[in-house]
Protein backbone atom coordinates (compact mmCIF):
# COMPACT_ATOMS: atom_id res chain seq x y z
CA UNK A 1 0.00 0.00 0.00
CA UNK A 2 1.23 3.49 -0.83
CA UNK A 3 0.43 6.51 1.27
CA UNK A 4 -0.46 9.58 -0.77
CA UNK A 5 -0.89 11.71 2.32
CA UNK A 6 1.10 11.53 5.52
CA UNK A 7 0.06 13.62 8.49
CA UNK A 8 2.43 13.74 11.45
CA UNK A 9 1.67 15.31 14.83
CA UNK A 10 -0.74 17.65 13.14
CA UNK A 11 -2.07 20.33 15.46
CA UNK A 12 -4.35 23.23 14.68
CA UNK A 13 -5.26 25.68 17.37
CA UNK A 14 -7.67 28.54 17.01
CA UNK A 15 -7.74 31.23 19.62
CA UNK A 16 -9.30 29.20 22.41
CA UNK A 17 -9.93 25.79 20.95
CA UNK A 18 -7.66 23.06 19.75
CA UNK A 19 -9.35 21.78 16.61
CA UNK A 20 -6.77 19.06 16.01
CA UNK A 21 -4.42 17.75 18.62
CA UNK A 22 -1.20 16.14 17.37
CA UNK A 23 -2.82 13.62 15.05
CA UNK A 24 -0.83 11.32 12.82
CA UNK A 25 -2.23 9.16 10.08
CA UNK A 26 -1.67 8.03 6.51
CA UNK A 27 -4.08 8.19 3.62
CA UNK A 28 -3.55 5.37 1.20
CA UNK A 29 -3.68 5.70 -2.55
CA UNK A 30 -6.77 4.74 -4.53
CA UNK A 31 -9.00 4.26 -1.54
CA UNK A 32 -12.31 5.79 -0.55
CA UNK A 33 -12.15 7.12 3.00
CA UNK A 34 -15.02 8.02 5.26
CA UNK A 35 -14.03 10.88 7.55
CA UNK A 36 -16.49 10.49 10.39
CA UNK A 37 -17.14 12.30 13.62
CA UNK A 38 -19.47 14.72 15.30
CA UNK A 39 -19.85 18.37 14.41
CA UNK A 40 -16.85 20.31 15.62
CA UNK A 41 -14.76 17.15 15.96
CA UNK A 42 -12.13 18.51 13.57
CA UNK A 43 -13.09 16.88 10.26
CA UNK A 44 -13.13 20.04 8.14
CA UNK A 45 -10.00 21.33 9.86
CA UNK A 46 -8.19 18.11 9.00
CA UNK A 47 -9.30 18.26 5.38
CA UNK A 48 -8.27 21.93 5.11
CA UNK A 49 -4.82 21.11 6.43
CA UNK A 50 -4.34 18.12 4.12
CA UNK A 51 -5.16 20.28 1.10
CA UNK A 52 -3.06 23.23 2.34
CA UNK A 53 -6.05 25.54 2.42
CA UNK A 54 -5.11 26.11 6.05
CA UNK A 55 -1.78 25.97 7.82
CA UNK A 56 -1.14 23.77 10.84
CA UNK A 57 -0.11 25.33 14.14
CA UNK A 58 2.47 22.57 14.31
CA UNK A 59 3.16 19.25 12.68
CA UNK A 60 3.62 18.33 9.05
CA UNK A 61 1.58 17.24 6.06
CA UNK A 62 3.13 15.47 3.11
CA UNK A 63 1.11 14.93 -0.04
CA UNK A 64 2.74 12.82 -2.75
CA UNK A 65 5.84 13.11 -0.61
CA UNK A 66 5.96 16.89 -0.68
CA UNK A 67 4.79 19.79 1.43
CA UNK A 68 1.56 20.88 -0.30
CA UNK A 69 1.68 24.48 0.93
CA UNK A 70 2.13 26.89 -1.99
CA UNK A 71 3.18 23.89 -4.05
CA UNK A 72 1.47 24.09 -7.44
CA UNK A 73 2.84 20.70 -8.45
CA UNK A 74 1.00 19.04 -5.59
CA UNK A 75 -2.06 21.28 -5.44
CA UNK A 76 -2.96 20.74 -9.08
CA UNK A 77 -3.52 17.10 -8.19
CA UNK A 78 -5.87 17.88 -5.30
CA UNK A 79 -9.46 19.04 -5.24
CA UNK A 80 -11.30 20.25 -2.16
CA UNK A 81 -14.56 22.17 -2.56
CA UNK A 82 -15.69 23.19 0.88
CA UNK A 83 -19.11 22.61 2.33
CA UNK A 84 -19.59 26.38 2.67
CA UNK A 85 -17.57 27.19 -0.44
CA UNK A 86 -17.54 30.84 -1.50
CA UNK A 87 -17.74 31.84 -5.14
CA UNK A 88 -16.81 35.11 -6.89
CA UNK A 89 -19.47 37.78 -6.70
CA UNK A 90 -22.24 37.25 -9.25
CA UNK A 91 -20.65 34.05 -10.52
CA UNK A 92 -23.04 31.50 -11.94
CA UNK A 93 -22.66 27.74 -11.76
CA UNK A 94 -21.51 27.93 -15.38
CA UNK A 95 -18.71 30.34 -14.42
CA UNK A 96 -17.61 28.08 -11.58
CA UNK A 97 -17.47 25.00 -13.81
CA UNK A 98 -15.64 26.92 -16.52
CA UNK A 99 -13.04 27.98 -13.97
CA UNK A 100 -12.64 24.41 -12.74
CA UNK A 101 -12.01 23.35 -16.30
CA UNK A 102 -9.09 25.79 -16.43
CA UNK A 103 -7.33 24.51 -13.36
CA UNK A 104 -7.84 20.77 -13.08
CA UNK A 105 -5.59 19.04 -15.60
CA UNK A 106 -7.72 15.89 -15.63
CA UNK A 107 -11.05 17.69 -15.92
CA UNK A 108 -13.69 15.71 -17.83
CA UNK A 109 -16.14 18.10 -19.45
CA UNK A 110 -18.42 15.34 -20.72
CA UNK A 111 -18.78 14.00 -17.20
CA UNK A 112 -19.45 17.50 -15.89
CA UNK A 113 -22.16 18.01 -18.51
CA UNK A 114 -23.80 14.73 -17.64
CA UNK A 115 -23.73 15.55 -13.93
CA UNK A 116 -25.24 18.98 -14.54
CA UNK A 117 -28.10 17.28 -16.30
CA UNK A 118 -28.52 14.56 -13.67
CA UNK A 119 -28.50 17.02 -10.80
CA UNK A 120 -30.69 19.44 -12.78
CA UNK A 121 -28.33 22.25 -11.92
CA UNK A 122 -29.44 25.63 -13.29
CA UNK A 123 -26.31 26.97 -14.96
CA UNK A 124 -27.39 30.52 -15.51
CA UNK A 125 -28.51 31.30 -12.01
CA UNK A 126 -25.97 33.09 -9.82
CA UNK A 127 -24.51 30.94 -7.10
CA UNK A 128 -25.97 33.29 -4.48
CA UNK A 129 -29.46 32.33 -5.59
CA UNK A 130 -28.95 28.57 -5.70
CA UNK A 131 -30.69 26.39 -3.13
CA UNK A 132 -28.59 24.55 -0.58
CA UNK A 133 -28.90 21.35 -2.58
CA UNK A 134 -27.94 23.04 -5.86
CA UNK A 135 -24.96 24.61 -4.13
CA UNK A 136 -23.87 21.17 -2.95
CA UNK A 137 -24.32 19.91 -6.49
CA UNK A 138 -21.85 22.50 -7.81
CA UNK A 139 -19.23 21.22 -5.37
CA UNK A 140 -20.03 17.58 -6.13
CA UNK A 141 -19.75 18.17 -9.88
CA UNK A 142 -16.42 19.99 -9.54
CA UNK A 143 -15.12 17.23 -7.27
CA UNK A 144 -16.17 14.38 -9.54
CA UNK A 145 -15.29 15.95 -12.89
CA UNK A 146 -11.91 17.22 -11.67
CA UNK A 147 -10.78 13.58 -11.41
CA UNK A 148 -8.11 14.90 -9.05
CA UNK A 149 -5.91 12.20 -7.62
CA UNK A 150 -6.95 13.26 -4.16
CA UNK A 151 -10.52 14.50 -4.05
CA UNK A 152 -12.12 15.72 -0.85
CA UNK A 153 -15.87 15.98 -0.33
CA UNK A 154 -16.92 17.81 2.83
CA UNK A 155 -20.48 16.79 3.68
CA UNK A 156 -21.43 16.85 0.01
CA UNK A 157 -24.98 15.69 0.65
CA UNK A 158 -26.20 18.85 2.42
CA UNK A 159 -29.55 19.83 0.98
CA UNK A 160 -29.47 17.03 -1.58
CA UNK A 161 -32.59 14.89 -1.70
CA UNK A 162 -32.41 11.10 -1.57
CA UNK A 163 -32.39 10.81 -5.35
CA UNK A 164 -29.57 13.28 -5.75
CA UNK A 165 -27.55 11.62 -2.99
CA UNK A 166 -27.93 8.25 -4.66
CA UNK A 167 -26.87 9.86 -7.93
CA UNK A 168 -23.74 11.14 -6.23
CA UNK A 169 -22.89 7.76 -4.73
CA UNK A 170 -23.53 5.97 -8.02
CA UNK A 171 -21.47 8.42 -10.05
CA UNK A 172 -18.67 8.34 -7.51
CA UNK A 173 -18.48 4.55 -7.53
CA UNK A 174 -18.76 4.25 -11.30
CA UNK A 175 -16.11 6.86 -11.96
CA UNK A 176 -13.90 5.51 -9.19
CA UNK A 177 -14.01 2.07 -10.78
CA UNK A 178 -12.80 3.49 -14.08
CA UNK A 179 -10.42 6.05 -12.65
CA UNK A 180 -9.24 4.91 -9.24
CA UNK A 181 -8.21 7.75 -7.00
CA UNK A 182 -8.12 8.74 -3.37
CA UNK A 183 -11.41 10.08 -2.11
CA UNK A 184 -12.00 11.60 1.31
CA UNK A 185 -15.66 11.85 2.16
CA UNK A 186 -16.89 13.41 5.36
CA UNK A 187 -20.43 12.57 6.25
CA UNK A 188 -22.95 12.26 9.03
CA UNK A 189 -25.06 9.87 7.00
CA UNK A 190 -22.79 7.05 7.99
CA UNK A 191 -24.92 4.07 7.06
CA UNK A 192 -25.63 5.67 3.71
CA UNK A 193 -21.95 5.74 2.78
CA UNK A 194 -20.84 2.66 4.69
CA UNK A 195 -20.97 0.46 1.60
CA UNK A 196 -19.03 3.07 -0.32
CA UNK A 197 -16.07 3.66 1.94
CA UNK A 198 -13.21 1.24 2.23
CA UNK A 199 -11.57 2.83 5.22
CA UNK A 200 -12.87 4.98 8.02
CA UNK A 201 -11.14 7.68 9.99
CA UNK A 202 -13.16 8.60 13.05
CA UNK A 203 -12.21 11.96 14.55
CA UNK A 204 -13.40 13.03 17.95
CA UNK A 205 -12.42 16.19 19.81
CA UNK A 206 -9.39 16.73 17.65
CA UNK A 207 -8.02 13.20 17.95
CA UNK A 208 -8.16 10.14 15.76
CA UNK A 209 -10.45 7.66 17.47
CA UNK A 210 -10.33 4.98 14.83
CA UNK A 211 -8.30 4.45 11.68
CA UNK A 212 -9.30 1.13 10.15
CA UNK A 213 -10.82 -0.57 7.17
CA UNK A 214 -14.59 -0.57 7.16
CA UNK A 215 -14.57 -4.31 7.80
CA UNK A 216 -12.16 -4.00 10.70
CA UNK A 217 -14.39 -1.31 12.16
CA UNK A 218 -17.43 -3.48 11.81
CA UNK A 219 -15.49 -6.32 13.43
CA UNK A 220 -15.25 -4.28 16.60
CA UNK A 221 -18.82 -5.21 17.34
CA UNK A 222 -21.11 -8.17 16.87
CA UNK A 223 -24.75 -8.31 15.90
CA UNK A 224 -26.90 -11.14 17.21
CA UNK A 225 -30.48 -11.74 16.13
CA UNK A 226 -32.98 -14.25 17.41
CA UNK A 227 -35.18 -15.31 20.28
CA UNK A 228 -34.82 -12.81 23.09
CA UNK A 229 -34.41 -15.46 25.74
CA UNK A 230 -31.55 -17.07 23.82
CA UNK A 231 -29.83 -13.80 22.99
CA UNK A 232 -29.63 -12.47 26.54
CA UNK A 233 -27.15 -15.00 27.98
CA UNK A 234 -24.79 -14.40 25.06
CA UNK A 235 -24.54 -10.70 25.80
CA UNK A 236 -22.81 -11.47 29.07
CA UNK A 237 -20.84 -8.55 30.34
CA UNK A 238 -20.57 -6.94 26.93
CA UNK A 239 -21.73 -3.46 26.29
CA UNK A 240 -24.88 -3.28 24.21
CA UNK A 241 -24.62 -0.48 21.71
CA UNK A 242 -27.91 -1.13 20.00
CA UNK A 243 -31.00 -3.12 20.77
CA UNK A 244 -34.20 -3.60 18.83
CA UNK A 245 -37.05 -5.89 19.72
CA UNK A 246 -40.06 -6.99 17.78
CA UNK A 247 -42.24 -9.43 19.62
CA UNK A 248 -39.97 -12.18 20.87
CA UNK A 249 -37.25 -11.47 18.38
CA UNK A 250 -34.41 -9.29 19.56
CA UNK A 251 -31.52 -7.83 17.59
CA UNK A 252 -28.61 -6.59 19.64
CA UNK A 253 -25.28 -5.15 18.71
CA UNK A 254 -22.61 -5.64 21.33
CA UNK A 255 -19.11 -4.34 21.53
CA UNK A 256 -16.44 -6.97 21.03
CA UNK A 257 -16.30 -10.31 19.26
CA UNK A 258 -17.52 -13.78 20.18
CA UNK A 259 -15.14 -16.58 20.98
CA UNK A 260 -15.49 -20.03 19.40
CA UNK A 261 -17.55 -21.40 22.27
CA UNK A 262 -19.99 -18.53 21.96
CA UNK A 263 -20.19 -18.95 18.22
CA UNK A 264 -21.19 -22.57 18.73
CA UNK A 265 -23.78 -21.39 21.22
CA UNK A 266 -25.18 -18.99 18.61
CA UNK A 267 -25.49 -21.83 16.13
CA UNK A 268 -27.01 -24.24 18.64
CA UNK A 269 -29.59 -21.74 19.85
CA UNK A 270 -30.63 -21.07 16.27
CA UNK A 271 -29.52 -17.43 16.45
CA UNK A 272 -28.07 -15.42 13.57
CA UNK A 273 -25.08 -13.14 13.44
CA UNK A 274 -26.03 -9.96 11.64
CA UNK A 275 -23.90 -7.30 10.02
CA UNK A 276 -23.07 -4.41 12.30
CA UNK A 277 -24.20 -0.93 11.46
CA UNK A 278 -21.20 1.33 11.08
CA UNK A 279 -23.34 4.19 12.21
CA UNK A 280 -24.25 2.58 15.51
CA UNK A 281 -20.62 1.82 16.11
CA UNK A 282 -19.47 5.35 15.38
CA UNK A 283 -22.21 6.79 17.55
CA UNK A 284 -21.05 4.56 20.37
CA UNK A 285 -17.39 5.44 19.88
CA UNK A 286 -17.91 9.17 19.68
CA UNK A 287 -20.40 9.28 22.53
CA UNK A 288 -18.17 7.34 24.84
CA UNK A 289 -15.30 9.73 24.39
CA UNK A 290 -17.28 12.88 25.13
CA UNK A 291 -17.91 13.36 28.82
CA UNK A 292 -21.50 13.37 30.01
CA UNK A 293 -22.77 11.68 26.88
CA UNK A 294 -24.97 8.60 26.85
CA UNK A 295 -24.08 5.76 29.18
CA UNK A 296 -23.58 2.20 28.08
CA UNK A 297 -26.80 0.49 27.24
CA UNK A 298 -28.64 3.67 26.50
CA UNK A 299 -25.96 4.68 24.05
CA UNK A 300 -27.89 3.65 20.99
CA UNK A 301 -30.66 6.13 20.46
CA UNK A 302 -33.57 5.19 18.22
CA UNK A 303 -32.31 7.66 15.64
CA UNK A 304 -28.54 7.43 15.83
CA UNK A 305 -27.97 10.08 13.20
CA UNK A 306 -29.81 12.58 15.37
CA UNK A 307 -27.40 11.81 18.16
CA UNK A 308 -24.41 12.22 15.88
CA UNK A 309 -25.64 15.44 14.46
CA UNK A 310 -26.25 17.01 17.81
CA UNK A 311 -23.78 19.80 18.04
CA UNK A 312 -20.99 19.52 20.51
CA UNK A 313 -21.56 22.10 23.24
Amino acid sequence: MTAVIEARELTKRYRRTTALDAVSFDIEADTIYGILGRNGAGKTTAMSLLTAQSLPTSGTVRVFGEDPFENARVLSRLCFVRENQKYPDDATARHALRAARLFFPRWDQALADRLVEDFRLPLRRTVKKLSRGQLSAVGVIIGLASRAEVTVFDEPYLGLDAVARQLFYDHLLADYAEHPRTVLLSSHLIDEISDLVERVLVIEEGSILLDATTDEARGLATGIVGDAAAVEPLIGGREVIHRESLGRVTAVTVLGTLDDRERRQVAEAGLDLSPVSLQQLVVRLTQHSSPGAGRAGSAASPRPDAAVERTIR
Binding site: M1, T2, A3, V4, I5, E6, D26, E28, A29, D30, S48, T51, Q53, S54, L55, R62, V63, F64, G65, E70, N71, A72, R73, L75, S76, R77, L78, C79, F80, V81, R82, Q85, K86, Y87, P88, D89, D90, A91, T92, H95, A96, R98, A99, A100, L102, F103, F104, P105, R106, G139, I142, A148, E149, R181
Partner: protein, 247 residues
Protein backbone atom coordinates in the same frame (compact mmCIF):
# COMPACT_ATOMS: atom_id res chain seq x y z
CA UNK B 1 2.50 1.04 3.88
CA UNK B 2 5.53 2.66 2.32
CA UNK B 3 6.60 6.23 2.05
CA UNK B 4 4.61 8.64 0.02
CA UNK B 5 5.35 8.63 -3.64
CA UNK B 6 3.56 9.91 -6.69
CA UNK B 7 0.86 7.60 -7.96
CA UNK B 8 0.84 6.35 -11.50
CA UNK B 9 -1.12 9.40 -12.58
CA UNK B 10 1.79 11.71 -12.08
CA UNK B 11 2.21 13.56 -15.31
CA UNK B 12 3.57 16.92 -16.26
CA UNK B 13 1.61 19.43 -14.23
CA UNK B 14 0.84 22.81 -15.75
CA UNK B 15 3.46 25.41 -14.99
CA UNK B 16 2.91 28.10 -12.42
CA UNK B 17 3.18 30.73 -15.14
CA UNK B 18 0.39 29.05 -17.07
CA UNK B 19 -1.77 28.75 -13.98
CA UNK B 20 -1.16 32.41 -13.09
CA UNK B 21 -2.24 33.40 -16.57
CA UNK B 22 -5.33 31.26 -16.11
CA UNK B 23 -6.15 33.25 -12.97
CA UNK B 24 -6.42 36.31 -15.23
CA UNK B 25 -8.80 34.30 -17.42
CA UNK B 26 -10.66 33.20 -14.30
CA UNK B 27 -11.22 36.82 -13.29
CA UNK B 28 -12.62 37.56 -16.73
CA UNK B 29 -14.88 34.50 -17.00
CA UNK B 30 -17.55 36.68 -15.51
CA UNK B 31 -16.94 39.88 -17.45
CA UNK B 32 -19.26 41.88 -15.27
CA UNK B 33 -16.86 42.58 -12.40
CA UNK B 34 -13.72 43.62 -14.19
CA UNK B 35 -15.13 44.96 -17.42
CA UNK B 36 -18.73 46.07 -17.64
CA UNK B 37 -19.29 47.62 -14.22
CA UNK B 38 -16.18 49.86 -14.27
CA UNK B 39 -17.00 50.91 -17.83
CA UNK B 40 -20.62 51.64 -16.97
CA UNK B 41 -19.55 53.67 -13.94
CA UNK B 42 -17.04 55.65 -16.01
CA UNK B 43 -19.38 56.30 -18.93
CA UNK B 44 -22.31 56.92 -16.56
CA UNK B 45 -20.30 59.54 -14.68
CA UNK B 46 -19.24 61.04 -18.01
CA UNK B 47 -22.83 61.24 -19.26
CA UNK B 48 -24.12 62.80 -16.04
CA UNK B 49 -21.23 65.24 -16.03
CA UNK B 50 -21.93 66.20 -19.63
CA UNK B 51 -25.59 66.82 -18.84
CA UNK B 52 -24.64 69.10 -15.96
CA UNK B 53 -22.26 71.03 -18.27
CA UNK B 54 -25.06 71.34 -20.82
CA UNK B 55 -27.37 72.80 -18.21
CA UNK B 56 -24.72 75.24 -17.06
CA UNK B 57 -23.79 76.20 -20.62
CA UNK B 58 -27.44 76.60 -21.65
CA UNK B 59 -27.95 78.98 -18.77
CA UNK B 60 -25.13 81.22 -19.82
CA UNK B 61 -22.34 79.83 -17.66
CA UNK B 62 -18.95 80.90 -18.87
CA UNK B 63 -15.33 79.97 -18.41
CA UNK B 64 -13.86 76.46 -18.44
CA UNK B 65 -15.66 73.85 -16.37
CA UNK B 66 -13.76 71.03 -14.67
CA UNK B 67 -15.00 68.19 -12.51
CA UNK B 68 -13.64 65.27 -10.57
CA UNK B 69 -16.37 62.94 -11.77
CA UNK B 70 -13.91 60.82 -13.74
CA UNK B 71 -12.61 59.36 -10.49
CA UNK B 72 -15.92 57.52 -9.97
CA UNK B 73 -14.80 54.08 -11.24
CA UNK B 74 -11.55 54.39 -9.33
CA UNK B 75 -13.48 53.97 -6.07
CA UNK B 76 -15.17 50.91 -7.45
CA UNK B 77 -11.73 49.36 -7.77
CA UNK B 78 -11.36 49.44 -4.00
CA UNK B 79 -14.58 47.44 -3.85
CA UNK B 80 -13.50 44.83 -6.38
CA UNK B 81 -10.12 44.66 -4.69
CA UNK B 82 -11.94 43.76 -1.49
CA UNK B 83 -14.20 41.26 -3.22
CA UNK B 84 -11.26 39.61 -4.92
CA UNK B 85 -10.10 38.88 -1.40
CA UNK B 86 -13.32 37.89 0.34
CA UNK B 87 -14.94 35.87 -2.45
CA UNK B 88 -12.53 35.02 -5.23
CA UNK B 89 -9.66 34.03 -2.93
CA UNK B 90 -11.62 31.23 -1.20
CA UNK B 91 -12.79 30.09 -4.63
CA UNK B 92 -9.21 30.07 -5.88
CA UNK B 93 -8.39 27.66 -3.06
CA UNK B 94 -11.11 25.30 -4.26
CA UNK B 95 -9.46 25.56 -7.67
CA UNK B 96 -6.24 24.30 -6.03
CA UNK B 97 -4.27 27.46 -6.77
CA UNK B 98 -1.38 28.64 -4.69
CA UNK B 99 -1.82 31.94 -2.94
CA UNK B 100 0.93 33.42 -5.06
CA UNK B 101 -0.65 32.32 -8.33
CA UNK B 102 -3.93 33.80 -7.20
CA UNK B 103 -2.40 37.06 -6.03
CA UNK B 104 -0.20 37.73 -9.05
CA UNK B 105 -2.95 36.67 -11.47
CA UNK B 106 -5.53 38.83 -9.76
CA UNK B 107 -3.23 41.84 -9.73
CA UNK B 108 -2.59 41.27 -13.43
CA UNK B 109 -6.33 41.05 -14.09
CA UNK B 110 -6.84 44.33 -12.24
CA UNK B 111 -4.04 45.89 -14.30
CA UNK B 112 -5.67 44.72 -17.55
CA UNK B 113 -8.96 46.17 -16.41
CA UNK B 114 -7.34 49.41 -15.26
CA UNK B 115 -5.55 49.72 -18.61
CA UNK B 116 -8.85 49.40 -20.44
CA UNK B 117 -10.40 52.01 -18.22
CA UNK B 118 -7.39 54.28 -18.70
CA UNK B 119 -7.69 53.94 -22.48
CA UNK B 120 -11.29 55.16 -22.34
CA UNK B 121 -10.31 57.98 -20.01
CA UNK B 122 -7.47 59.10 -22.28
CA UNK B 123 -9.69 58.84 -25.36
CA UNK B 124 -12.26 61.08 -23.70
CA UNK B 125 -9.48 63.51 -22.74
CA UNK B 126 -8.19 63.65 -26.30
CA UNK B 127 -11.73 64.19 -27.56
CA UNK B 128 -12.16 67.05 -25.12
CA UNK B 129 -8.88 68.60 -26.17
CA UNK B 130 -9.83 68.37 -29.85
CA UNK B 131 -13.33 69.79 -29.34
CA UNK B 132 -12.43 72.38 -26.70
CA UNK B 133 -14.51 70.57 -24.12
CA UNK B 134 -17.38 69.49 -26.38
CA UNK B 135 -17.56 73.03 -27.68
CA UNK B 136 -18.66 74.32 -24.31
CA UNK B 137 -15.36 74.44 -22.45
CA UNK B 138 -16.44 71.61 -20.13
CA UNK B 139 -13.88 68.97 -19.16
CA UNK B 140 -14.40 65.55 -17.63
CA UNK B 141 -11.11 63.85 -18.46
CA UNK B 142 -8.89 66.62 -19.84
CA UNK B 143 -7.97 68.06 -16.45
CA UNK B 144 -5.03 70.49 -16.69
CA UNK B 145 -3.03 69.13 -13.74
CA UNK B 146 -3.12 65.61 -15.18
CA UNK B 147 -2.17 66.50 -18.73
CA UNK B 148 0.84 68.80 -18.15
CA UNK B 149 3.17 66.06 -19.31
CA UNK B 150 1.11 64.84 -22.21
CA UNK B 151 -1.16 61.95 -23.00
CA UNK B 152 1.02 59.22 -21.52
CA UNK B 153 1.45 61.16 -18.30
CA UNK B 154 -2.31 61.53 -17.91
CA UNK B 155 -2.83 57.86 -18.66
CA UNK B 156 -0.15 56.85 -16.19
CA UNK B 157 -1.73 58.99 -13.48
CA UNK B 158 -5.18 57.52 -14.03
CA UNK B 159 -3.84 53.97 -14.16
CA UNK B 160 -1.82 54.49 -10.97
CA UNK B 161 -4.81 55.85 -9.07
CA UNK B 162 -6.92 52.87 -10.14
CA UNK B 163 -4.34 50.28 -9.14
CA UNK B 164 -3.67 52.05 -5.87
CA UNK B 165 -7.34 51.81 -4.90
CA UNK B 166 -7.49 48.17 -5.93
CA UNK B 167 -4.50 47.23 -3.79
CA UNK B 168 -5.82 49.23 -0.84
CA UNK B 169 -9.19 47.46 -1.04
CA UNK B 170 -7.50 44.09 -1.39
CA UNK B 171 -5.14 44.56 1.51
CA UNK B 172 -7.77 46.01 3.79
CA UNK B 173 -10.00 42.96 3.30
CA UNK B 174 -6.99 40.67 3.73
CA UNK B 175 -6.41 42.25 7.13
CA UNK B 176 -10.12 41.93 7.94
CA UNK B 177 -10.14 38.24 7.06
CA UNK B 178 -6.90 37.38 8.74
CA UNK B 179 -7.01 39.51 11.88
CA UNK B 180 -10.69 40.40 12.18
CA UNK B 181 -12.65 43.63 11.66
CA UNK B 182 -11.48 45.14 14.97
CA UNK B 183 -7.84 45.04 13.99
CA UNK B 184 -8.68 46.24 10.47
CA UNK B 185 -10.61 49.21 11.86
CA UNK B 186 -7.73 49.99 14.20
CA UNK B 187 -5.28 49.84 11.29
CA UNK B 188 -7.50 52.12 9.18
CA UNK B 189 -7.72 54.63 12.01
CA UNK B 190 -3.99 54.33 12.56
CA UNK B 191 -3.30 55.13 8.91
CA UNK B 192 -5.68 58.09 9.10
CA UNK B 193 -3.89 59.31 12.24
CA UNK B 194 -0.56 59.14 10.44
CA UNK B 195 -2.12 61.21 7.66
CA UNK B 196 -3.39 63.79 10.16
CA UNK B 197 0.03 63.79 11.81
CA UNK B 198 1.68 64.55 8.46
CA UNK B 199 -0.77 67.36 7.85
CA UNK B 200 0.04 68.76 11.30
CA UNK B 201 3.78 68.53 10.60
CA UNK B 202 3.52 70.26 7.26
CA UNK B 203 1.28 72.94 8.73
CA UNK B 204 3.56 73.51 11.71
CA UNK B 205 6.55 73.82 9.40
CA UNK B 206 4.50 76.12 7.18
CA UNK B 207 5.63 73.94 4.32
CA UNK B 208 2.44 73.71 2.25
CA UNK B 209 4.02 75.87 -0.40
CA UNK B 210 6.92 73.47 -0.68
CA UNK B 211 4.55 70.52 -0.89
CA UNK B 212 2.56 72.15 -3.66
CA UNK B 213 5.76 73.01 -5.48
CA UNK B 214 6.90 69.41 -5.25
CA UNK B 215 3.66 68.20 -6.82
CA UNK B 216 3.94 70.75 -9.62
CA UNK B 217 7.59 69.98 -10.25
CA UNK B 218 7.14 66.23 -10.11
CA UNK B 219 4.21 66.53 -12.50
CA UNK B 220 1.74 63.73 -13.19
CA UNK B 221 4.53 61.35 -14.17
CA UNK B 222 6.64 61.93 -11.07
CA UNK B 223 3.64 61.70 -8.76
CA UNK B 224 2.46 58.56 -10.59
CA UNK B 225 5.80 56.89 -10.24
CA UNK B 226 5.67 57.57 -6.51
CA UNK B 227 2.08 56.25 -6.48
CA UNK B 228 3.12 53.10 -8.29
CA UNK B 229 5.94 52.58 -5.81
CA UNK B 230 3.44 52.96 -2.98
CA UNK B 231 1.11 50.48 -4.73
CA UNK B 232 4.01 48.05 -5.07
CA UNK B 233 4.81 48.36 -1.37
CA UNK B 234 1.15 47.77 -0.53
CA UNK B 235 1.03 44.80 -2.89
CA UNK B 236 4.02 43.21 -1.21
CA UNK B 237 2.34 43.84 2.14
CA UNK B 238 -0.87 42.20 0.89
CA UNK B 239 0.93 39.17 -0.42
CA UNK B 240 2.75 38.74 2.88
CA UNK B 241 -0.54 39.03 4.77
CA UNK B 242 -2.18 36.59 2.37
CA UNK B 243 0.68 34.16 2.39
CA UNK B 244 -0.06 32.46 5.65
CA UNK B 245 -3.79 32.96 5.65
CA UNK B 246 -6.19 30.09 6.19
CA UNK B 247 -9.41 29.87 4.24
Amino acid sequence: MTTASPTRWAGPSPSTARRTLDVVRLQFINRQTFLWIPLIVLLGAWLLNLLVYLIVAANGGSGPMYSGASQAPVWYFAVIGGQAMTLTFPFSQAMSLTRREFFVGTLAAAAVSALGLTAVFVALGLLERATDGYGMDGYFAYLPALWTQGTLGAGLAYFTLTMLFFVIGFWFMTVVRRFGPMVAAAVAIGVALIGVGLIALVTAAQAWGAVARWFVEAGPVGVSVCGLLLAAVLAVGSSLTLRRMSV
